[in-house]
């Protein structure tokens, strides 16, 4: 059917076809964009609806909250992305989620900061997440919704945009919140990990279990004392170096002897 035109008219024809292609392309694009926009709008309103209907559950039910957070992560949504420079108007998700999720974590973050600064003098700014949770739960009224360690970790995450020194580090297998910007060297981490077992260590325990020399064990312990991260008990046969975390434990500390 199509045949190559000859003569000058062929040039005109090809110009027209390419113009037609272009216009068709752009109409396709715009209809695609419109469709996407509708989808996004639907998704947005559904998510909003969901967050609104379940706001209470999100705030009060820790496992529901965890599920919600996981769902958001799966679809590539960060419910806590607080400041978005592109939108200009604060977090799109903050608007979508009716602030309930955001506020929950921000309020929790304030409590985490309180616990950390209240105990900083006694623990040198390093506290186990479990202890933070315990003391937050303790200070709350009867019947207040439960919170999980996972919530606390997320709450610490919300502090990042503030350029804060709060971070989560792992000592052994346990997460700690560090509220003083200091790095632990490997020996110090090893000691803190060993302390988790009984609540305390001594020089000879470190020498036996980690195969360290006396000087090395002594140095690591003294470093941690000078960071305020260990307390010393000189009334035992051999000096014992205790983790201040054991002061906050609900149950009695490990019985001696």
């Amino acid at each position: 059917m199509s045949r190559k035109g000859v003569g000058l008219a062929a040039f005109d024809r090809s110009r027209i076809t390419s113009a037609q292609y272009a216009s068709h392309g752009s109409s396709l694009r715009s209809s695609d964009a419109a469709a996407l926009e509708t989808q996004l709008a639907v998704f947005r309103s559904l998510l909003q609806q969901f967050a609104q209907t379940h706001a209470k559950d999100i705030r009060s039910n820790p496992s529901f909250r965890a599920q919600f957070a996981r769902m958001c992560a799966a679809i590539g949504v960060d419910p806590l992305a607080a400041s978005s420079t592109r939108e200009g108007g604060g977090s799109i998700w903050a608007q979508l989620l009716g602030r309930s999720v955001n506020d929950f974590y921000f309020e929790l973050a304030v409590k985490v900061v309180e616990v950390c600064s209240d105990t900083r003098e006694e623990n040198g700014g390093l506290i186990e997440v479990r202890k933070v949770r315990e003391s937050i739960l303790q200070s709350r009224m009867e019947g207040a919704p439960d919170i999980t360690e996972d919530d606390i970790l997320r709450a610490v995450g919300t502090l990042k945009p503030l350029g804060s020194s709060y971070s989560v580090i792992k000592v052994g297998s346990k997460p700690y919140i560090r509220s003083v910007p200091k790095e632990l060297n490997t020996d110090q981490s090893a000691v803190l990990e060993a302390v988790q077992v009984l609540g305390y260590v001594s020089v000879s325990m470190l020498m036996v279990n980690l195969k360290w020399t006396r000087a090395r064990a002594q140095t690591a312990l003294e470093d941690l004392i000078s960071e305020g991260m260990l307390w010393v008990d000189k009334q035992s046969v051999e000096w014992e170096y205790w983790s201040p975390g054991f002061m906050l434990t609900a149950q009695d500390p490990v019985q001696l002897g």
Partner: protein, 190 residues
């Protein structure tokens, strides 16, 4: 007075290093704050107005009387705060106006523990006099602390010497006047 029962010791009391003076300055400060809070709440619980700081020789009994012997010696852990460290706690409390050596000296073997300061006791007495409309009447010191009329007042059973300190403050402010001899003193409120 009814027996208040055993004092619920805080968690740090079961923490062995709590009884050793901490070498790190910051940690030591945290330790002093905790001890000071503990001393105050312990004394408030047992309504002790002063503490004798030197260990008594009869500390062998398994259930000691409420006092410094019980407070500074955790028998379960076999840990005790030594006298020098106790003095450091008291000195720390003195800076806050929450303790004072008896006789107003720089040191001593007995210390007042002010879970209520003399000013606060004075305020309580003044409030009570006001509330019961006894301005202008003369009350004996015995009536104030031991009389039936003050049974429900917080200063009922207050140490006599401490009461006198408190009343002394009211006298200075021109709110009271003290008469009489040593053991039969009376006070008139304005």
């Amino acid at each position: 007075m009814s027996n208040p029962g055993p004092f619920p010791f805080p968690r740090e009391y079961s923490f062995p290093p709590f009884f050793t003076r901490q070498t790190n300055l910051t940690t030591h400060h945290a330790q002093l704050v905790k001890w000071s809070t503990l001393v105050l709440s312990y004394c408030r619980h047992h309504r002790l107005f002063k503490l004798s700081l030197t260990p008594s020789s009869t500390s062998s009994s398994s259930s000691p009387e409420p006092g410094a012997d019980e407070l500074f010696h955790n028998r379960k852990l076999d840990r005790r705060l030594n006298t020098a460290d106790i003095r450091e706690v008291i000195d720390f409390m003195r800076k806050d106006g929450r303790a004072e050596y008896v006789g107003g000296k720089e040191t001593g073997d007995v210390a007042w523990v002010y879970w209520r300061t003399p000013e606060e006791w004075a305020g309580l007495v003044e409030e009570w006099v006001d509330a019961t409309g006894q301005k202008g009447t003369v009350l004996t010191l015995y009536e104030l602390t031991e009389g039936d009329a003050t049974l429900n007042a917080e200063f009922h059973g207050l140490d006599t010497e401490l009461l006198q300190k408190a009343l002394g403050i009211l006298v200075k402010r021109g709110k009271a006047q003290i008469f009489g001899q040593e053991d039969s003193q009376g006070v008139k409120f304005f």
